[in-house]
């Protein structure tokens, strides 16, 4: 589904991503872990098109060259990013944004736009699962939402858009234990053989609920180690220095 080859990103003089290779097949869950500033969000930004100044490399998504597509085109092809820091848009009702997003997607697929009543029925059902109060629909997008509420709102949008590839950028950070379970349930409600997920996280806990097929460790802009789900626990036990010491190439 997603294939990243030898991806390099440089901002000003600094190499942020330095030769990333990653293949995510349909139905797979991949976790990306790594210390602060190692380039995880940058990777998400390149996949979604916020950054397009690659110095090198290729990204394809279901055979399409992603670098040819604008951010909105990538979104309509089914790529969704749950933001690490969701953005506030004053004066724009949450429901209005979600509806516009759903309808943009439907138009792209040649489907008719949802009418207000059908739309409301669907959004209510998802909100119930995520235990979000209906009043959130009528508040301005993310404005005055608590950290955890913002994260839930991201997952609500994801559930409404039913993406093929979801990138969760630290969606678990700032969530309490119950909220983490609820949010994971939301993510899993979409899981099927045709959809893939990339979870960027600092904590193995979310991986208990959304179980990864692969775990990658990103340090200094490189994937220095990949493994199965146990790798997350080893990381927790031994920390990133352990990976670095264990993998001399990483500190080059």
């Amino acid at each position: 589904m997603l294939s990243i080859n030898d991806l390099c990103v440089q901002i000003e003089d600094k190499k942020i991503l330095d030769g990333i290779n990653l293949d995510v097949a349909a139905g797979e869950v991949h976790a990306v872990m790594g210390p602060n500033g190692s380039g995880k969000s940058t990777l998400a930004n390149v996949i979604t098109g916020k950054l397009d100044n690659l110095t090198q490399g290729r990204i394809t998504f279901n055979g399409m060259d992603l670098l040819d597509l604008d951010p909105e085109e990538r979104a309509r092809e089914g790529i969704f990013l749950a933001f690490q820091h969701p953005i506030e848009i004053p004066g724009v009702n949450n429901i209005y944004l979600i509806k516009a997003a759903v309808n943009a997607l439907r138009r792209h697929r040649g489907e008719s736009e949802l009418d207000a009543i059908d739309f409301l029925a669907i959004v209510r059902e998802k909100m119930k699962l995520l235990q979000i109060n209906e009043s959130f629909l009528y508040r301005s997008v993310n404005e005055g939402f608590s950290g955890g509420e913002k994260k839930r709102n991201e997952i609500l949008q994801m559930m409404m858009l039913e993406p093929k590839l979801t990138v969760l950028d630290e969606t678990d950070s700032g969530l309490d234990i119950d909220a983490l379970k609820i949010v994971s349930r939301g993510v899993n409600s979409l899981a099927d053989a045709g959809r893939s997920t990339v979870i960027i996280t600092h904590f193995p806990r979310i991986l208990e609920y959304i179980v990864p097929d692969h775990v990658h460790v990103l340090i200094g802009g490189r994937i220095v180690r990949s493994g199965g789900k146990d790798l997350a626990h080893e990381l927790e036990k031994y920390g990133y220095t352990w990976v670095i010491e264990d993998t001399p190439a990483a500190v080059a």
């Binding site: 098109g49 990013l81 848009i89 004053p90 724009v92 944004l97 943009a104 997607l105």
Partner: protein, 483 residues
Amino acid sequence: MNQSTATDISGFVNREYKEGFVTDIESETFPPGLDEDVIIALSAKKNEPEFMRDWRLKAYARWKKMTEPVWAHVNYTPIDYQSISYYSAPKSDADRPKSLDEVDPKLLETYEKLGIPLSEQKMLAGVAVDAVFDSVSVATTFKKTLADAGVIFCSFSEAVQEHPELVQKYLGSVVPSGDNYFAALNSAVFSDGSFVYVPKGVRCPMELSTYFRINAMNTGQFERTLIVAEEGSYVSYLEGCTAPMRDENQLHAAVVELIAFKDAEIKYSTVQNWYPGDEEGRGGIYNFVTKRGACRGENAKISWTQVETGSAITWKYPSVMLEADNSIGEFYSVALTNNCQQADTGTKMVHIGQNTSSTIISKGVSAGRGQNSYRGLVRILKGAENARNYSQCDSLLMGDRCGAHTFPYIEVKNPTAKVEHEATTSRISEDQMFYCRQRGLSEEDSVSMIVNGFCKEVFKELPMEFAVEAQKLLGISLEGAVG
């Protein structure tokens, strides 16, 4: 769009109407130029009573002694007042497009985007025959409903003929003929406009909107509006229309006077979308408007809401004179400037009575090389015990070639007054744009959504259908403003 297409379009589009409203005009046009004889002839042409003619002449005498204001934060080439024709009869059907096929496709595309029904599209584009037929029948239905309620709503010319006593009593009682340069000119030569009279205790049974769209067609360059709301009455009046209107007349100098008596409320909403000119600002309309309301009885309320997206130059300050105790003035405004547009707008709230209060919410959006100025005056006179004002002026900039300027003037002569002023300037952030685009919205839809969010406090004051149209309009006006 280049200049030659702009000229083609103004050739196609003719906003004046013949049938239905003005039947007593013979086909002819005065040669350009302005002097006393022109005014006397104009008044005679309109079959006006003596008081009307004298009023015009007095205004003209004042105007001659005045000089054009230069303080507005706008630049334009000087207007040659002797090159304007001050009376021109409507064009004949032969000059109109026969069907929409003959109308500029670009204009039609915009109508399409705004979702304007076909019959109205024809009307706006000035298509002959059946469009006129449609609108006359619609207008007749409205007229009956209003007449049943006792509301007078007619063209200004008609009011001069049918209700001269009302016109004589109220005309110029809020905006005196010598008030300012453009008001004086308007008073001398105004062509037509609208007149509304709501009797005591009557709640006007409909928004005076669709009707106005039709009625607006025969008002010219110098438009005059007078609205009187008697004790305990209510009226909501919608001026203008979101569809782009083109006009061969470059200068527009309108005067609007509102009078609200005890416990009466007038809500006046405007969507102004005159032709702004091409990307270089060529051929756009100059819109110099004097709008003022007077709260003449206790608890009277006047509220102006405006969405300004058109014109090359807009110069306009809807104001409220809070003459009576406990009266309320409100001003909600969105002004958008793109390309070379210049807008200098704002309001004046003059607190005269006790416990008077006013609210000003102004949202300026500048894109391209647009220049947007807010100029607001809050004046609290000596006798205005416990007056309050709250002003909020927010500017949103898109790109780095546009400008926003805020000029708040506050004069307080009574120590019990409470005056609050807040101002912000912001830009659409890249993060907001990316967030929307990541959700699948196009760049233009993202801008339009963010800008509409910024303007929300004003849009919620507009009547429902108008608000929806205004939102779409804002999106269309901003097309090409990003990237």
